[in-house]
């Protein structure tokens, strides 16, 4: 009789009973699928919804009809699922999609990352925080299109026979920048000019370098590499970026978990 105590036997016995029931009734239905329970929490929810709309509690009669409505809705809901009405309905698909995504986003990001986490983020993403080089430079504006021979002018400037002011066209841009980084230079001269600085050597007049204003001759007197900042210098920016990245990562991870279970084929994509 030891056998009767085995859980497996209980399980199999139970399953047999269910099959026997289906066989006997001929309906093939699982009774659990046809059980509807309205719990206290459901009633409380229905009441609360009523209060929100009507600013008073429902009368017993009103509560009864709310419950009847809930039951009726549940029955139609289940029958609709049995008929497969949820399939191929874009409205329902969309709502379920939104709801799933919303559920996944409930899992929040840690608001208080440790220094170690932030330091690791800083180390992993140096390009976001490393400063650009700092430039000391002088520039001569030549106008929108240079009139003079640039090669001769450069020679003259570098040999000291031509003074910068003799060739400079007037414009209210600084003639000299000290310890300016790429973003500061871009604000004043535009991105094209910053890109141009990378192409010229340090120490003598070079050019022309193009900006949105026109052409410039440039003498970079010093170029110091930007350093990687310490966490304390950029903590807020790192924390913001880290948090934004975590949110994205969580969303993607939640989706990937589902997606990995599917074998996806696409035909006809352009």
């Amino acid at each position: 009789m030891k056998l009767l105590k085995e859980p497996l036997v209980h399980f199999l016995g139970g399953a047999l009973l269910v099959f026997a029931f289906f066989w006997a009734t001929g309906t093939g239905r699982d009774p659990a699928d046809y059980e509807i329970t309205i719990r206290e929490t459901d009633v409380a929810r229905l009441k609360a919804g009523w209060v929100q709309n009507f600013r008073r509690a429902p009368t017993p009669g009103e509560l009864d009809s709310l419950i009847d409505q809930e039951i009726k809705e549940e029955i139609y809901y289940r029958e609709a699922l049995r008929l497969g009405l949820d399939r191929n309905d874009p409205l329902i698909r969309r709502r379920l999609f939104t709801k799933m995504r919303f559920l996944d986003n409930q899992e929040g990001v840690d608001d208080n990352p440790s220094d170690a986490l932030l330091q690791k983020w800083l180390d992993d993403n140096p390009e976001k925080y490393t400063q650009s080089p700092f430039y000391d430079l002088e520039q001569i504006y030549l106008g929108q299109s240079a009139q003079q021979s640039i090669a001769a002018t450069l020679d003259g400037l570098n040999q000291g026979t031509v003074k910068p002011d003799a060739v400079r066209k007037p414009i209210s841009l600084p003639t000299e920048l000290k310890q300016a980084d790429a973003s500061e230079i871009a604000r004043q001269f535009g991105e094209k000019f910053v890109a141009g600085l990378n192409t010229i050597a340090v120490g003598e007049w070079q050019g022309p370098v193009q900006s949105g204003f026109g052409q410039h001759l440039v003498k970079i007197t010093a170029k110091t590499a930007g350093k990687s900042p310490a966490l304390d210098d950029v903590r807020q920016a790192v924390a913001n970026d880290w948090r934004a990245a975590q949110t994205t990562r969580l969303e993607e991870a939640a989706f990937d978990k589902y997606r990995a279970q599917y074998d996806i084929k696409v035909t006809g994509r352009e």
Partner: protein, 632 residues
């Protein structure tokens, strides 16, 4: 929730351990060195909507506060409809101005479990429509705007008491995010909201912006117009905030162009005459006005300024009917709708009442509802997420949101930005510059504009214009009084945006009160490119600069116009006894409008009435002249 708990724990621990959200690393304004005078112009948008605005969310925006800030700081983000979005250059500051009315409500409605709404047919219908399709969501938003304009929303729909908890937590969390992204000296994130009264569909909207951090702003809730639709009530709220917290706040009226003459009306909202208290309060609370944005330009109109051949910029589509298009706007109403006329009305008040309610500086901003502060023609993300850059129908489609009449996509401008001359990129310095009106508007390009007035400038002072300007005169937004009968002189410089087009000209726009007590205006061309070949005719008009736009390529050539214009000017028609204002308008050479870029990209044929070529511009804040005897 987690944030709220953390905050509670922190404030409890604060007294003993100094646990603080601001751990010092993010710095404070005080740690930034201010320059001696405003050396640098800072660029920003004071009027941006995110997914917390009821309409923006309804239109489809799914980008939040954080995404909006990251985009403004120059990072690439993915827009709501999937396109990659990045600015050509970062902005220096941002005011997120979500509608205070039912802030966060559409997002909450959308995310609510359907079953919770079963008892409310009205909300359930909207909930279902929003989920059904993008079009459904747009219809909900249109109904919302319509309902708000016509007062037909069901009573209690956005009951402030019921939604107070949601708004409180949303506002607090939003403020904390702004503080996290505020980096004094590098990028300034302002707290703000938009107050949107719209009596009968007439636009009386204001952006409200704070100088303070969330320690102060979280003590209040954004002020809603559903309950208090008279701007005087907003000013009272602002006054109470300043008294209670020691903070500072200002309001920025906008879209006066669709106010049906009511933004700068000669009476109070209730029709009673404007009194001294109203004038003082309005001048104090509203030091600047947003003169250009996506929903058109409010500087002037050909009806008001028949002698101004550039007055029609950004008027098409916007001058016919009010914001909701529930009423036609007769041209007689334009006087209270456009800023130049308002400045003239201000002079009339000064003369009659000794004070000026309409003494404002001018800025531009986007009013974008996409969380993306874009104002460049070749990178325009539209008014709302239904019209982002990947929607090929957006230029030509009718825009009947909240309207039943035709405004078309191409009527919307890719405009504008706020330029602020401040001593540092901090909340304090930028806000204070706005209070003293040292600001100007542009329709997108970042040209640098300097404008100084004084009685003693000489032509040679243009050599060291800025230093002399501050030493011997006042900057834009300032006041000139007295002068001993001498005609005022002005120093003006305009430097092109190195990423945009050359400059056509500088104009001075003067408004004054003539001997009969009537206001007048005149436009002076004071500096222009190619002065050898371009002359001012007998009619006062200057030879047009030309046009290099190639519509088939959406390009132009900078081989006309000038990279910089600098000049000295003295008023040739000055009468020392007459109150006057002067502001400058800078015009770029012609460039293509955003629909031209769309046409090229999507292979569209634009109908003839679409404006394809424009001259982008900057408007400085005025400098006011007041005879010594009178006060301003």
């Amino acid at each position: 929730m987690r944030k709220a708990l953390l905050l509670a724990a922190c404030s409890a621990a604060l007294t003993i351990s100094g646990c603080s959200k601001d751990d010092g690393s993010s710095g404070s304004d005080a740690e930034v060195t201010n320059t001696e005078y405003p050396e640098q112009v800072f660029w920003g948008d004071t009027h941006l909507h995110t997914d917390n605005s009821i309409d923006a969310f309804g239109f489809g925006t799914r980008l939040d506060t954080e995404a909006a800030l990251r985009f403004a700081k120059g990072e690439e983000v993915t827009a709501s409809k999937g396109a990659k979005a990045k600015l050509s250059r970062p902005l220096d500051f941002l005011v997120i101005a979500d509608h205070s009315d039912a802030v966060g409500a559409t997002k909450a409605l959308y995310e609510a479990p359907r079953i919770a709404l079963l008892g409310n047919e009205f909300l359930l219908r909207w909930h279902d429509m929003m989920h059904e399709s993008d079009e459904g969501s747009l219809r909900v938003t249109a109904e919302l705007i319509d309902g708000a304009a016509n007062g037909t929303l069901p009573e209690g729909l956005f009951d402030p008491e019921e939604s107070a908890d949601r708004i409180k937590s949303l506002w607090t969390e939003h403020g904390e995010t702004l503080d996290e992204y505020n980096e004094p000296g590098k990028f300034t994130a302002f707290h703000g909201f938009e107050y949107t009264p719209m009596p009968g569909g007439d636009n009386l909207h204001r952006v409200v912006m704070f100088r303070d951090g969330s320690d102060k702003t979280s003590t209040i809730l954004p002020f809603a117009s559903f309950d208090a639709g008279d701007p005087e009530q907003l000013w009272a709220y602002m006054g109470a905030y300043e008294r209670d917290t020691g903070g500072k706040v200002l309001a920025i009226p906008h879209n006066s162009n669709v106010s049906n003459g009511r933004m700068f009306a000669m009476n109070k909202l209730d029709g009673s005459p404007i009194d001294e208290a109203y004038i003082k309060t309005r001048a104090l609370r509203e030091p600047i006005v947003e003169v250009t944005q996506i929903k058109g330009d409010s500087e002037s109109h050909p009806f008001l300024s028949p002698n101004d051949e550039f007055a029609n910029y950004g008027d098409a589509g916007w001058d016919k009917c009010n914001l909701s298009c529930s009423k036609d706007m007769p041209p007689e109403s334009y006087g209270g709708s456009y800023t130049r006329e308002a400045l003239k009305r201000g002079l009339e008040f000064t003369l009659k009442m000794g004070a000026n309610p309409f003494k404002f500086g001018m800025i531009g901003s986007t009013d974008s509802h996409t969380s993306l502060a874009t104002a460049d023609e070749n990178n325009f993300f539209g008014k709302h997420s239904g019209n982002e850059i990947n929607n090929k129908d957006r230029a030509l489609a009718p825009q009947n949101l909240g309207t039943r009449k035709g405004r078309f996509g191409w009527h919307y401008l890719s405009s504008g930005y706020a330029a602020v001359w401040a001593t540092s990129n901090t909340r304090e310095a930028i806000f204070d510059a706005m209070m003293r009106r040292e600001v100007y508007a542009t329709t997108g390009p970042r040209m640098q504009v300097r404008f100084f007035g004084g009685f003693d400038f000489a032509e040679a002072d243009t050599d060291d214009l800025v230093k002399t300007g501050y030493a011997k005169g006042v900057p834009m937004g300032g006041d000139l009084t007295g002068g001993g009968g001498k005609a005022p002189t002005f120093l003006v410089s305009a430097l092109m945006d190195p990423e945009s087009a050359n400059l056509d000209r500088i104009q001075v726009i003067k408004g004054w009160i003539d001997g009969n007590g009537k206001s007048q205006e005149k436009i002076y061309n004071i500096s222009w490119s190619s002065p050898d070949s371009r002359k001012v005719g007998a009619d006062g008009k200057l030879t047009a600069v030309g046009n290099t736009v190639d519509l088939t390529q959406a390009t132009w050539e900078n081989n006309i116009g000038a990279p910089e214009l600098v000049t000295w000017w003295q008023d040739p028609d000055f009468d020392a006894g007459q109150n006057a204002f002067y502001y400058v308008r800078i015009l770029e050479i012609p460039t293509p409008t955003w629909p031209v870029y769309d046409a090229l990209k999507f292979g569209l044929t634009l109908p003839d009435d679409v404006i394809t070529i424009q001259q982008e511009r900057a408007y400085s804040s005025p400098i006011w002249y007041t005879p010594a005897a009178a006060t301003s």
